[in-house]
Symmetry: C2
Subunit: 103 residues, 2 copies
Amino acid sequence: MEVSLQAALEALADPIRRQIVRELADVPDWTRPCGTFTHLPVAKSTLSHHFTVLRNVGLLEQRDEGARRLNRLRRPEFDARFPGLLPLVLAEEHPKSSEHPKR
Amino acid sequence: MEVSLQAALEALADPIRRQIVRELADVPDWTRPCGTFTHLPVAKSTLSHHFTVLRNVGLLEQRDEGARRLNRLRRPEFDARFPGLLPLVLAEEHPKSSEHPKR
Protein backbone atom coordinates (compact mmCIF):
# COMPACT_ATOMS: atom_id res chain seq x y z
CA MET A 1 0.00 0.00 0.00
CA GLU A 2 1.57 3.26 -1.14
CA VAL A 3 0.03 6.10 0.86
CA SER A 4 0.00 9.48 -0.86
CA LEU A 5 1.41 12.61 0.76
CA GLN A 6 -2.06 14.10 0.28
CA ALA A 7 -3.60 11.37 2.45
CA ALA A 8 -0.86 11.62 5.07
CA LEU A 9 -1.20 15.41 5.38
CA GLU A 10 -4.99 15.22 5.54
CA ALA A 11 -4.78 12.55 8.24
CA LEU A 12 -2.41 14.62 10.36
CA ALA A 13 -4.16 17.97 9.78
CA ASP A 14 -6.52 17.12 12.62
CA PRO A 15 -5.50 17.89 16.20
CA ILE A 16 -7.36 14.94 17.72
CA ARG A 17 -5.64 12.51 15.37
CA ARG A 18 -2.26 14.04 16.21
CA GLN A 19 -3.11 13.68 19.90
CA ILE A 20 -3.90 9.97 19.41
CA VAL A 21 -0.57 9.53 17.61
CA ARG A 22 1.33 11.27 20.41
CA GLU A 23 -0.37 9.21 23.12
CA LEU A 24 0.42 5.98 21.28
CA ALA A 25 4.04 7.05 20.87
CA ASP A 26 4.30 7.36 24.65
CA VAL A 27 3.41 3.73 25.42
CA PRO A 28 4.72 0.32 24.31
CA ASP A 29 3.13 -1.28 21.24
CA TRP A 30 -0.14 -3.16 21.77
CA THR A 31 -0.81 -1.72 25.22
CA ARG A 32 -3.42 0.95 24.47
CA PRO A 33 -6.92 -0.22 23.47
CA CYS A 34 -9.12 2.18 21.51
CA GLY A 35 -11.43 2.29 24.53
CA THR A 36 -8.83 4.23 26.53
CA PHE A 37 -9.12 7.34 24.37
CA THR A 38 -12.54 8.41 25.56
CA HIS A 39 -10.97 11.39 27.37
CA LEU A 40 -10.60 13.07 24.00
CA PRO A 41 -13.28 15.70 23.43
CA VAL A 42 -15.10 14.03 20.54
CA ALA A 43 -18.07 11.70 20.14
CA LYS A 44 -17.40 7.96 20.20
CA SER A 45 -18.35 7.64 16.52
CA THR A 46 -15.94 10.46 15.63
CA LEU A 47 -13.18 8.79 17.61
CA SER A 48 -13.81 5.57 15.72
CA HIS A 49 -13.53 7.50 12.44
CA HIS A 50 -10.22 9.02 13.55
CA PHE A 51 -8.81 5.54 14.22
CA THR A 52 -9.96 4.40 10.78
CA VAL A 53 -8.27 7.37 9.09
CA LEU A 54 -5.03 6.74 10.96
CA ARG A 55 -5.13 3.05 10.07
CA ASN A 56 -5.87 3.74 6.39
CA VAL A 57 -2.92 6.08 6.11
CA GLY A 58 -0.55 3.50 7.55
CA LEU A 59 -0.04 5.10 10.94
CA LEU A 60 -1.78 2.42 12.99
CA GLU A 61 -1.88 -1.32 13.16
CA GLN A 62 -4.73 -2.82 15.17
CA ARG A 63 -5.58 -6.23 16.52
CA ASP A 64 -8.45 -7.51 18.59
CA GLU A 65 -7.79 -9.17 21.90
CA GLY A 66 -11.03 -10.30 23.46
CA ALA A 67 -13.28 -7.27 23.62
CA ARG A 68 -10.39 -4.85 23.26
CA ARG A 69 -8.92 -3.41 20.07
CA LEU A 70 -5.21 -2.84 20.67
CA ASN A 71 -3.04 -0.41 18.72
CA ARG A 72 0.49 -0.16 17.48
CA LEU A 73 1.90 3.06 16.05
CA ARG A 74 3.61 2.07 12.79
CA ARG A 75 6.39 4.51 13.49
CA PRO A 76 9.32 2.93 11.60
CA GLU A 77 7.16 2.22 8.57
CA PHE A 78 5.72 5.74 8.50
CA ASP A 79 9.14 7.32 9.09
CA ALA A 80 10.47 5.36 6.12
CA ARG A 81 7.64 6.56 3.86
CA PHE A 82 7.50 10.20 5.07
CA PRO A 83 10.79 11.05 6.79
CA GLY A 84 10.49 13.93 9.21
CA LEU A 85 6.71 14.14 9.33
CA LEU A 86 6.01 12.10 12.46
CA PRO A 87 8.77 13.81 14.48
CA LEU A 88 7.03 17.16 13.84
CA VAL A 89 3.81 15.72 15.26
CA LEU A 90 5.51 14.16 18.27
CA ALA A 91 7.39 17.36 19.05
CA GLU A 92 4.27 19.49 18.90
CA GLU A 93 3.25 21.06 22.15
CA HIS A 94 -0.32 20.24 23.09
CA PRO A 95 -2.33 22.50 20.78
CA LYS A 96 -4.53 25.08 22.37
CA SER A 97 -8.19 24.20 22.12
CA SER A 98 -8.73 27.44 20.20
CA GLU A 99 -6.74 25.88 17.39
CA HIS A 100 -9.08 22.93 17.05
CA PRO A 101 -10.92 23.17 13.76
CA LYS A 102 -14.63 23.79 14.02
CA ARG A 103 -16.65 20.70 13.27
CA MET B 1 4.96 35.14 13.99
CA GLU B 2 4.87 31.58 15.31
CA VAL B 3 2.97 29.42 12.82
CA SER B 4 1.24 26.36 14.32
CA LEU B 5 1.77 22.87 12.96
CA GLN B 6 -2.00 22.78 12.47
CA ALA B 7 -1.83 25.77 10.10
CA ALA B 8 1.20 24.41 8.25
CA LEU B 9 -0.41 21.00 7.68
CA GLU B 10 -3.69 22.55 6.57
CA ALA B 11 -1.84 24.83 4.15
CA LEU B 12 0.05 21.93 2.60
CA ALA B 13 -2.88 19.50 2.56
CA ASP B 14 -3.97 21.00 -0.75
CA PRO B 15 -2.42 19.73 -3.99
CA ILE B 16 -2.61 23.09 -5.78
CA ARG B 17 -0.78 24.83 -2.96
CA ARG B 18 1.90 22.12 -2.98
CA GLN B 19 2.19 22.60 -6.75
CA ILE B 20 2.72 26.36 -6.28
CA VAL B 21 5.41 25.62 -3.69
CA ARG B 22 7.18 23.17 -6.00
CA GLU B 23 7.11 25.58 -8.93
CA LEU B 24 8.55 28.37 -6.80
CA ALA B 25 11.28 26.07 -5.53
CA ASP B 26 12.37 25.52 -9.14
CA VAL B 27 13.11 29.18 -9.90
CA PRO B 28 15.24 31.92 -8.35
CA ASP B 29 13.63 34.12 -5.69
CA TRP B 30 11.53 37.04 -6.94
CA THR B 31 11.27 35.80 -10.53
CA ARG B 32 7.76 34.29 -10.60
CA PRO B 33 4.82 36.71 -10.45
CA CYS B 34 1.47 35.40 -9.25
CA GLY B 35 0.12 36.01 -12.76
CA THR B 36 2.24 33.16 -14.13
CA PHE B 37 0.30 30.47 -12.26
CA THR B 38 -2.84 30.67 -14.36
CA HIS B 39 -2.09 27.23 -15.87
CA LEU B 40 -3.24 25.70 -12.57
CA PRO B 41 -6.76 24.27 -12.82
CA VAL B 42 -8.47 26.65 -10.43
CA ALA B 43 -10.40 29.90 -10.67
CA LYS B 44 -8.41 33.13 -10.36
CA SER B 45 -10.07 33.95 -7.04
CA THR B 46 -9.18 30.49 -5.72
CA LEU B 47 -5.60 30.95 -6.84
CA SER B 48 -5.46 34.26 -5.01
CA HIS B 49 -6.77 32.53 -1.87
CA HIS B 50 -4.07 29.86 -2.16
CA PHE B 51 -1.36 32.52 -2.29
CA THR B 52 -2.84 34.17 0.80
CA VAL B 53 -2.85 30.87 2.71
CA LEU B 54 0.77 30.18 1.76
CA ARG B 55 1.79 33.68 2.76
CA ASN B 56 -0.06 33.50 6.10
CA VAL B 57 1.65 30.26 7.01
CA GLY B 58 5.09 31.71 6.34
CA LEU B 59 5.84 29.87 3.11
CA LEU B 60 5.77 32.89 0.83
CA GLU B 61 7.10 36.39 0.83
CA GLN B 62 5.61 38.74 -1.73
CA ARG B 63 6.44 42.16 -3.09
CA ASP B 64 4.88 44.29 -5.74
CA GLU B 65 6.92 45.45 -8.68
CA GLY B 66 4.82 47.61 -10.94
CA ALA B 67 1.73 45.61 -11.85
CA ARG B 68 3.33 42.32 -10.88
CA ARG B 69 3.32 40.60 -7.50
CA LEU B 70 6.58 38.68 -7.17
CA ASN B 71 7.13 35.71 -4.88
CA ARG B 72 9.89 34.25 -2.79
CA LEU B 73 9.61 30.81 -1.23
CA ARG B 74 10.68 31.25 2.41
CA ARG B 75 12.44 27.95 2.31
CA PRO B 76 15.16 28.40 4.96
CA GLU B 77 12.71 30.02 7.38
CA PHE B 78 10.12 27.26 6.91
CA ASP B 79 12.75 24.53 7.13
CA ALA B 80 13.90 25.99 10.44
CA ARG B 81 10.36 26.03 11.84
CA PHE B 82 9.20 22.66 10.44
CA PRO B 83 12.27 20.57 9.58
CA GLY B 84 11.56 17.90 7.01
CA LEU B 85 8.13 19.08 5.92
CA LEU B 86 9.05 21.08 2.82
CA PRO B 87 11.41 18.37 1.50
CA LEU B 88 8.46 15.94 1.50
CA VAL B 89 6.46 18.39 -0.61
CA LEU B 90 9.32 19.06 -3.01
CA ALA B 91 10.03 15.34 -3.45
CA GLU B 92 6.40 14.51 -4.19
CA GLU B 93 5.76 13.22 -7.65
CA HIS B 94 3.11 15.29 -9.42
CA PRO B 95 -0.12 14.06 -7.81
CA LYS B 96 -2.63 12.40 -10.06
CA SER B 97 -5.65 14.57 -10.70
CA SER B 98 -7.80 11.86 -9.11
CA GLU B 99 -6.14 12.74 -5.81
CA HIS B 100 -7.26 16.35 -5.97
CA PRO B 101 -9.82 16.96 -3.27
CA LYS B 102 -13.28 17.84 -4.50
CA ARG B 103 -14.09 21.48 -3.94
